[in-house]
């Protein structure tokens, strides 16, 4: 039970370590607070996406056949590729944190961070170019370009709505994540982190992994669970 009241030597002499905030008594207290804060934020994120998942489950049960038909409009190849890309980016993120944690050179941390960013950007690029854009051309984007007919029932339209809302919201989180990573790269370059203090890296990592987990569920829910075996 380490508590913050033991005013550390450093704080007492006014020599705060970089990144230490005045309202805390110790660096450890600050680190724990940051991590706890991020976990609570992720809990709200679970409920945020949860509202979407609940709606999806309800409508799927109401329009089962249409949702299966709708899921057959999606391209599993790109979905699966993107899943792999995101998992790779989670690995590189974990390695970036590990690199800071174990006091490797800042070049090593920056390398892993930039690799993570490249993978994240690749995910968005694939999504945009080979999925959303293709869907737009095909005319299966509700509210934007929806070509009626082709046996598309209202339920299929509903499915596509959810597909775009859910993947869109996820992609938005990816973009925010890329922004955070950019800041982290700059901070690392300016020697803001050490093996003593790398809390921003750690909590950003939690966020990045969370976004990965959302996709881990979106992929089967949107692309797979209807089964891909019927038809061609």
């Amino acid at each position: 039970m380490h508590r913050g009241w033991l005013v550390s030597e450093m704080a007492a002499h006014g020599a705060h370590p970089p990144g230490f905030a005045h309202q805390f008594e110790t660096v450890e207290q600050q680190r724990e607070a940051g991590t706890l804060g991020m976990w609570i934020f992720l809990a709200t994120e679970i409920l945020f996406f949860g509202g979407m998942f609940t709606s999806y489950i309800v409508y799927r049960s109401l329009h089962l056949q249409s949702f299966i038909a709708g899921s057959h409009e999606l391209k599993v190849v790109f979905g699966a590729t993107n899943t792999a890309v995101l998992i790779c980016s989670s690995l590189t993120m974990a390695l970036a944190i590990r690199s800071a944690q174990t006091g490797r050179s800042k070049g090593s941390t920056i390398f892993w961070l930039i690799l993570t960013m490249i993978l994240g950007a690749a995910f968005i690029a694939i999504k945009l170019r080979y999925e959303w854009y293709a869907d737009y051309v095909e005319g299966i984007v509700p509210g934007v370009n929806w070509v009626a007919g082709g046996g598309h029932t209202p339920g299929v339209k509903m499915f596509m709505c959810f597909y775009f809302f859910m993947t869109g919201l996820h992609a938005l989180h990816m973009v925010v994540g890329l922004g955070i990573l950019t800041v982290l790269v700059i901070m690392t370059a300016r020697n803001r982190f050490s093996s003593e203090y790398y809390s921003p890296l750690e909590i950003s990592g939690l966020y990045w992994h969370f976004v990965d987990i959302v996709w881990i569920f979106l992929f089967p829910l949107l692309y797979l669970i209807g089964g891909r075996y019927h038809g061609s």
């Binding site: 008594e25 607070a33 804060g37 609570i40």
Partner: protein, 554 residues
């Protein structure tokens, strides 16, 4: 009155540095990370919103003096009650106590220098202001006429008002709630002073913790729901449109998943404040500390599984209705436990009746009525008759205005010496409390009868037979309105002319009373070490000192 003059001399020199005079200028306020100043920023902004919502309410009551409507076209009246509801719920009641008193007091009460994330705290105020401004812009440019519940398909397809803008404002303000809740939870977990164990925490902190849980777990759902609604309005994709397979009831489920717990966001902090006031003015330890503390948590948890009682007549399945009904009864029990414990705290106390105590006692009485009338609505058969009528309006105003606003005012009065460093005129404060109590009951009690008689809510015109009760209610509203203006006047007056307050004018317990009034920016010169329970007021054992003054009258 005894405290008003006695303690002035205790105060250190007038030039002592505190959070108010530490630095000056607009920048020192709008860029402050000090939780106390942020609390005051919130105080100013939510009172402004209260004013807007209150004006709308007074206009509505004037309109309803005549059955055919005295003032407006129905369309304007609809915008009026929607504005009132949206502003009051999302921009006043939800942030009322947490964002003002919570921000100001949590670090002081637990012995911390600030909340865990001061920058996030300021950010959440800016987010709130952005949301509130958007909502106000929406209200002023075109208004909104959906009611605060935004039910589709009316809100999504039929309303021609500024629904999207206002919903977006509420959406943004939601993130302010989330950030505040997150900050409070981390602060309460990680920033407590040495010795401040969980069971030594003031009950206000327990209540704020429970409230923060709801903020964090409920608010994201309303955010995503309003987001879907806005998309539906902009793109017409049919999410809540039954014509293309959408289900409007799904919106209601998601909406009430947040909005029912939100009722407890409003009342739980009030309960926390009342626990502080009752103990301070009876100079006694709270009766059943752990029961009051755990009832806050259980209310927070149960509040999430009762939302379906808003949907008993909306076409929800009978079976779901049964489950929600039994769970709704369940939430009555921790609330009852709290009321009994507060009342029992008074027993053998040393009770004085300064204004905050009057508000606290008013809270207990009105909340009792508000809570018990909730049983009518948890009961399936009576709810069918009363749902959507003025009975509902009366019930939730008893809880939210009689409960939450009373507690808010009581809390502001109680901690005003700490916040401002000044004392307000107690006589005026007592008069205002009495006027508010009378005005409130005159406004809302007739509405219970109106509801049972069958008058539906949100009616711009109504059958003539309901006029007498409506006029009574409107008369009460004007009294209530005056009652609310009085504290505004004397509190502002007191900031300049009020007698200077000592560190502890009420002789209350709690860490916030151990620091000067107003507190210094860093709160505590040295972080205190806590060695005793909350509300450890001196008492004597009855059998030991049968002749002691406190015992003589028993």
């Amino acid at each position: 009155m005894s405290t008003a003059t006695a303690d002035i001399q205790e105060r250190p020199g007038a030039e002592s540095v505190n959070y108010l005079n530490a630095n000056y200028g607009i920048k020192s306020w709008f860029l402050t990370f000090d939780h106390k100043r942020i609390g005051l920023l919130y105080l100013a902004s939510i009172n402004l919103m209260f004013l807007v919502g209150g004006i709308a309410a007074v206009m509505m009551r004037f309109h309803l003096i005549e059955p055919q409507g005295a003032l407006f076209e129905p369309e304007t009246y609809n915008k009026m009650f929607s504005t009132h509801g949206i502003i009051m719920v999302f921009f006043f009641l939800v942030p009322s106590i947490p964002a003002t008193l919570g921000n100001f007091l949590i670090p002081l009460m637990i012995g911390a220098r600030d909340v865990a994330f001061p920058k996030l705290n300021l950010l959440s105020w800016y987010v709130f202001i952005t949301g509130a401004s958007l909502a106000l812009i929406g209200v002023l440019t075109g208004g909104v006429d959906t009611g605060w519940t935004f039910y589709p398909p009316y809100s999504s397809l039929y309303s021609h008002t500024a629904v999207t803008v206002v919903a977006f404002g509420v959406f943004i303000a939601g993130f302010s709630s989330i950030l505040t809740g997150l900050n409070f939870i981390v602060t309460i977990h990680k920033m407590r002073a040495p010795g401040m164990t969980w069971f030594r925490l003031p009950l206000f902190i327990w209540a704020m913790y429970a409230t923060s849980l709801i903020f964090v777990l409920g608010t994201p759902v309303i955010a995503i729901t309003l987001f879907l609604l806005a998309l539906e309005r902009i793109l017409h994709v049919g999410i809540f449109d039954p014509a293309v397979g959408g289900d409007p009831l799904l919106f209601q489920h998601l909406f009430w998943f947040y909005s029912h717990p939100a009722v407890y966001i409003m009342i739980l902090p009030g309960m926390g404040v009342v626990s502080e006031l009752i103990t301070a003015f009876s100079r006694k330890k709270i009766f059943g500390y752990s029961f009051v503390a755990f009832s806050s948590l259980s209310i927070a948890v149960i509040s999430f599984v009762v939302w379906g009682h808003h949907m008993f007549v909306t076409g929800q399945s009978v079976y779901a209705g049964l489950v929600f009904s039994v769970l709704s009864f369940l939430v009555a029990i921790p609330s009852a436990v709290k009321v009994f414990n507060w009342t029992a705290t008074l027993y053998r106390g040393s009770i004085s009746y300064e204004a905050p105590m009057l508000y606290a006692l008013g809270f207990i009485g009105l909340f009792t009525i508000g809570g018990l009338t909730g049983l009518f609505l948890a009961s399936l058969a009576t709810d069918v008759h009363l749902n959507g009528t003025y009975f509902i309006v009366a019930h939730f105003h008893y809880v939210m205005v009689g409960g939450a606003v009373m507690a808010y005012l009581g809390g502001i009065h109680f901690w005003w010496p700490k916040i401002s460093g000044r004392l307000y005129p107690d006589l005026w404060a007592r008069i205002a409390a009495a006027i508010i109590f009378i005005g409130f009951n005159l406004t809302f009690f007739p509405q219970f009868v109106l509801g049972y008689l069958g008058m539906p809510r949100r009616y711009a015109v109504y059958p003539a037979e309901f006029q007498v009760l409506n006029v009574m209610s409107s008369a009460g509203a004007s009294i209530l309105g005056i009652g609310y203006v009085i504290p505004l006047v004397y509190l502002i007056w007191s900031m300049k002319y009020g007698p200077v307050a000592s560190a502890n004018p009420w002789k209350a317990k709690g860490l916030e009373w151990t620091v000067p009034s107003p507190p210094p920016t860093e709160n505590f010169a040295e972080i205190p070490i806590v060695t005793e329970d909350a509300y450890n007021y001196p008492t004597i054992e009855a059998h030991q000192y049968p002749d002691a003054p406190g015992v003589a009258r028993v």
